[in-house]
């Protein structure tokens, strides 16, 4: 994306939390911003990359992105790094020692927790990193606060020479609300000041930094006690008071407008005196926090009487429908069981599907046709291969885990699995993120695993971001492009065990997989067709089903393309006397892009290029909202 003219100061704009943080990062005069895409954090860096005067990059993983930001902050510039919650697991190695060196230029790390699991493999609470790494944590409750707190975080970061975590959740990152923006203030870095006792963390030096870190903890706690980000709103109904943070604050205010509230914006180190003050003000104090009982546990350890996860769930968002009945029960009030007035209808689920003509369809269709496989999967669009109709992925844990898990499945195989073939499936970006090391480990330790490296030239699941595999940088400009075949050979995979295959050519793909799984060695099969949502993909002539030729065999449905629809069902008694179900189909030709995957398993040749009887109405670009 090209740089655009940023909206003028004092504009009031409808912004997502991500957009608000990006704006504040620009206004704060940040010089370097780095990230790896991950829902719900991705748009922060996407938007930052549109602002002028900031170096922005997609890094290969979160650890590298944090290290890039650390380097810029060491150099005296303001720096920014963002990631989803699980990204910090990867980056934490750097964080845990960064806390000892501290920073010179301000460094803010925005972590987006996927509370409610809209698009993640777990639901972890990033506020723990504040305690673990002894760094301050800010928790905005909406877009305006995300903007304000980002600016405040840079001031705090430089005052205490400490990185600041901006803890967000999906309900901040992806909610749009009004934000009043300000001016950009240029920040000029002082340059890197060589100081090995501070920046070279060997035991002798690190040991001297640890007491400084604990001293800083005390100073930060005092700062939190007087911070305007931690406010007691006295309220008028003193039966119950709340200690809360993040989006849960909005839910509390919505549900109990007259209750006293301590709103924690600067929640780590915890301002204990403020918490005591709130507790003293009310009959009962309830901690409402998403998601772990962190504040609650700390307060209970201090002897402050609070209620928390005793009455609230340990998982998911604490929205009004959760809060209201829990508090009503605590007060001994009748719970309004009547609402909602009608029960939710019990209908079919609509899980996410792969796109029409997605190159992964060919891979999973083929894997579903090969018997005797245990398939170690990974994180990306292709995780959907675990679902119907393919059911061709057996594990999904963390980025790059398909490699190590496949190796462990191979070495740890039980008697029942002695004839099973182990396959690992990983995408291009995930491979570059954390898969390369696992592949090297497989080669070094002589694994018997076939790796499918699905190179679709994009970080597909997060919206098709560029990566080192497609030769474009964050601005879409030309960048060096990694050659996956050369890369895996360099990691030690034998020349004859590396194959590049077009995933739309099913017979070749089938034969390659079937042959390679039989070889007791590490093989890598690279599929090389682009994601259908990026500009590298070119549509072909669509197909249609000739109704009179369709026999209802349903083979095409096994491909799993969402453009194929069942028109009618039937039953047929085979010569053997076995009754089989028939599904007669049609192709939605208006969305078909002619990949030809469904044509290949069609037994009666009933799928042919679409030949409209009347001229097609050309779809004009940009005609609707």
């Amino acid at each position: 994306m090209a740089a655009v003219m940023p909206a003028p100061a004092a504009s009031r704009i409808l912004m997502s939390g991500n957009e608000a943080v990006a704006r504040a990062v620009w206004e704060a005069g940040v010089k370097v911003a780095a990230a790896y895409p991950g829902t719900p954090s991705t748009e922060m860096l996407e938007v930052i990359s549109t602002y002028p005067d900031i170096y922005a990059e997609w890094s290969v993983n979160e650890k590298v992105s944090l290290e890039v930001a650390i380097g810029a902050a060491y150099a005296g510039s303001r720096a920014f790094c963002c990631m989803k919650h699980v990204g910090m697991n990867v980056a934490s190695d750097a964080l845990m020692t960064l806390t000892l060196t501290g920073v010179d230029g301000g460094l803010v790390i925005a972590i987006a927790d996927d509370v409610g699991l809209s698009s993640s493999q777990n639901e972890q609470d990033s506020r723990y990193w504040g305690r673990f790494a002894h760094v301050p944590v800010f928790e905005p409750a909406d877009s305006q606060e995300a903007y304000d707190m980002t600016l405040a975080a840079y001031v705090l970061s430089e005052k205490f020479q400490v990185p600041v975590i901006l803890r967000m959740t999906t309900r901040i990152n992806h909610v749009k609300a009004l934000v009043t923006v300000g001016e950009r203030n240029a920040h000029v870095g002082a340059g890197f000041k060589k100081d090995p006792s501070r920046y070279v963390m060997v035991p002798g030096n690190a040991g001297k930094r640890i007491p400084l870190m604990f001293k800083r903890d005390g100073e930060l706690r005092a700062e939190a006690e007087r911070s305007p980000l931690n406010v007691i709103e006295p309220g008028s109904d003193r039966r119950i008071g709340f200690i809360t943070s993040g989006p849960a604050y909005m839910h509390v205010k919505e549900s109990f407008p007259n209750a006293p509230v301590l709103k924690l914006g600067f929640s780590c180190p915890l301002p204990l005196e403020k918490c005591r003050e709130l507790a003293a003000l009310v009959d009962q104090a309830v901690v409402v926090e998403e998601v772990e009982p962190l504040v609650e546990t700390e307060l209970k350890a201090q002897g402050i009487a609070v209620i928390g996860k005793d009455i609230l769930p340990l998982q998911g968002e604490l929205a009004p429908p959760v809060l209201k009945p829990a508090i009503a029960r605590l007060l001994g009030e009748p719970v309004d069981e009547a609402a909602p007035a009608i029960r939710p209808a019990q209908i079919f689920p609509r899980p996410p599907t792969m796109c029409v003509a997605c190159p992964h369809l060919g891979v999973y269709y083929t894997l579903s046709q090969v018997r005797n496989l245990n398939i170690s999967g990974d994180i990306g669009c292709y995780t959907l291969g675990a679902g119907h109709p393919w059911q061709a992925m057996d594990t999904c844990v963390s980025m790059g885990a398909s490699m190590g898990i496949a190796l462990g499945m191979d070495k740890g195989r039980g008697e029942a699995d002695k004839d099973k073939r182990i396959v690992a499936v990983i995408g291009d970006s995930t491979f570059l993120h954390m898969g390369m090391q696992g592949l090297l480990d497989m080669v070094y330790n002589k694994a018997n695993v076939t790796v499918l490296l699905l190179d679709n030239r994009a970080v597909g699941m997060t919206g098709g971001q560029d990566n080192p595999g497609n030769g474009r940088d964050i601005h879409g400009e030309e960048a060096p492009r990694i050659d996956f075949v050369k890369l895996v050979k360099a990691l030690g995979v034998k020349e004859e065990r590396v194959h590049k295959v077009n995933p739309y050519e099913l017979p070749t793909l089938f034969k390659t997989i079937r042959d390679e799984v039989k070889v007791p060695d590490v093989s890598v099969i690279v599929t090389d067709q682009p994601c259908v949502l990026i500009k590298d993909y070119h549509k072909l002539k669509p197909y249609e089903v000739l109704d009179d030729k369709c026999t209802g065999c349903g083979n095409c449905l096994d491909v799993g393309c969402p453009a194929i629809h069942v028109t009618r069902r039937g039953k047929e008694v085979k010569g053997s006397g076995r009754e089989v179900d028939l599904s007669f189909v049609r192709i939605e030709s208006s969305v078909c892009t002619g990949c030809g995957l469904c044509v290949q398993p069609c037994a009666p040749d009933a799928i042919q290029h679409y030949a409209p009887v009347s001229p097609i109405t050309l779809v004009k670009k940009g005609c609707s909202a």
Partner: protein
């Protein structure tokens, strides 16, 4: 919170649900309201369920609409309307595009698509207005006009004039030229008319 209007827009990833909600938010903001818009989208880009919440009024706190508290439900697909029907408050209206988008799990025979989703919605005791936005859009020459048809459909169910919403819709297409603006105006009016006709039929 009193004085807050809750609009729930639902459909399937890729239908333009979030854009439609954003345009509704812009209209509310243009009138000086505070507004918050949020999605329960999941991996919705991949054809999953999308429900987009818009709340506006003097000051909006929680961005989420609680079950039984939506003032209007705008459903881009019939079964999705049924899925979210319980979100409506008693007496509130659902405006439903009566065309069906059948997901692969139904095509594979794992689940059934409800035989009469709109009928089932009506049986719930809410005011249900159905129309075929997809066919209307196709009739105007581009299926993607469906989004504007849907915005036209909700235009007379809002606590502000339809013209404010129409302005916000057309602003989006200004740089695409006169012809596109005219087509969208037509789509918007067709959506309004379809709801008007359906309501007259109910009455």
């Amino acid at each position: 919170m009193s004085g807050t209007t809750n609009i729930l827009v639902v459909g399937i990833g890729g239908q333009g649900v979030m854009t439609a909600t954003e345009i509704l938010a812009e209209a509310a903001i243009a009138l000086g309201h505070d507004a918050k818009k949020t999605e329960v989208a999941g991996m919705a880009q991949r054809g999953g369920v999308v429900s987009s919440h818009l709340r506006f009024g003097p000051r909006v706190l929680s961005p989420q609409i609680a079950p039984g508290e939506a003032d209007v439900l705008l459903a881009f697909e019939a079964a999705e309307g049924l899925r979210w029907m319980h979100m409506l408050r008693p007496g509130a209206a659902a405006l439903v595009n009566d065309s069906r988008f059948v997901p692969p799990v139904v095509e594979l025979g794992l689940y059934d698509y409800p035989s009469d989703p709109v009928g089932q919605m009506k049986a719930g005791g809410r005011r249900v207005v159905s129309f075929d936005a997809t066919t209307i859009a196709q009739g105007l020459g581009d299926i993607r006009l469906g989004n504007t048809v849907m915005l036209g459909a909700i235009a007379d169910q809002l606590p502000f004039s339809a013209d404010v919403l129409l302005d916000c819709v057309l602003k989006r297409f200004q740089r695409k030229g006169e012809k596109v603006v005219a087509l969208n105006r037509q789509a918007f009016e067709s959506g309004r008319a379809a709801v008007g006709a359906a309501e007259a039929a109910i009455a």
